[in-house]
């Protein structure tokens, strides 16, 4: 698995994790940075070859190029994760799921 939310993935548990310390959305590298994306995928493939036990984790050696301020603000009341339409869509999706479940019963 290639993921950005290390604590969530490790809490769940996966056989192998390549952790990329980037904002949620770009686990496989900075958009349009083909060299970095290739390198990240290669690290993940390398982990497939070398991992010896469940939970083996490798950390990709990259820092988000625009700095790390995003780490301070994500999921805070100053900067809600989902706002406006995105929040409404999320709530609507949850409601659709509840309806779907009702229909399945």
């Amino acid at each position: 698995m290639i993921a950005t939310a290390k604590d969530i993935v490790q809490n769940c548990g996966v056989p192998r994790l390549l952790f990329v310390d980037f904002p949620l959305g770009n686990p496989c590298g900075v958009p349009f940075d083909i060299n970095m994306q290739s390198d990240i995928l290669e690290s993940a493939l390398g982990l497939l070859e070398t991992a010896e036990q469940s939970g083996d984790t490798t950390v990709a050696p990259y820092v988000w190029p625009e700095g790390e301020a995003w780490k301070e603000t994500i999921f805070t009341s100053e900067q809600p994760f989902l706002e406006g339409e995105a929040y409404d869509n999320w709530m609507a999706a949850k409601q659709r799921y509840r309806n779907q479940k009702k229909e399945e019963r």
């Binding site: 993921a3 809490n11 548990g13 999320w90 509840r98």
Partner: protein, 166 residues
């Protein structure tokens, strides 16, 4: 380099402050399966599995395939040979303040995988890649969606899978 974000703590605090009383129960398993790679990567067939909500643009217009529009949960297939320029994501659950999803390879590295096949690092890609839409039920993921993805992978004789949550 700042410490990784502790999302579990951060989201719990955030949603408590928003008036949600019950903290989210994140998936947790005591036993995690593991199997060693049984053959060299150069003899392996790979696939891609993602929750990035990747979808296929209608080649003759904007917008995604309407068949997927209202699904919540459920596994679906992205044919591996879909041209990269037709793939996109309408996922909203990412850090919209810090980044964007304009490059599909930043969360669904299909072109990068194809390059590894061309280089001989991997033998091939399976004909199907897989998406799973966000479900609000871990039970559903465990009992319905994940087994379906596994079944399709076995049908395609997949050796390895790269998973990318978003």
């Amino acid at each position: 380099m700042a410490e990784p974000v502790k999302y579990i703590d951060r989201t719990r605090d955030y949603y408590l402050s928003q008036g949600y009383a019950k903290p989210y129960q994140w998936a947790h398993f005591d036993q995690i399966p593991f199997s060693r790679l049984a053959k060299p990567l150069s003899e392996c067939r790979a696939t891609l599995i993602s929750t990035s909500d990747v979808a296929i643009r209608n080649p003759d217009g904007e917008g995604r395939d309407k068949r997927h529009e209202d699904l919540v949960g459920s596994a679906y297939v992205i044919p591996t040979e879909t041209p990269e320029e037709l793939l996109f994501s309408r996922q909203e659950h990412y850090d919209q303040h810090a980044t964007h999803l304009d490059d599909v390879n930043s969360y669904f590295p299909i072109s990068r995988l194809k390059e590894q096949v061309a280089l001989g690092r991997l033998q091939s890609l399976a004909p199907r890649c897989h998406g799973v839409y966000t479900a609000y039920s871990q039970k559903r993921t465990l009992e319905v969606d994940a087994p379906e993805v596994l079944r399709r992978c076995r049908e395609d004789e997949v050796d390895i899978a790269v998973l990318t949550p978003v």
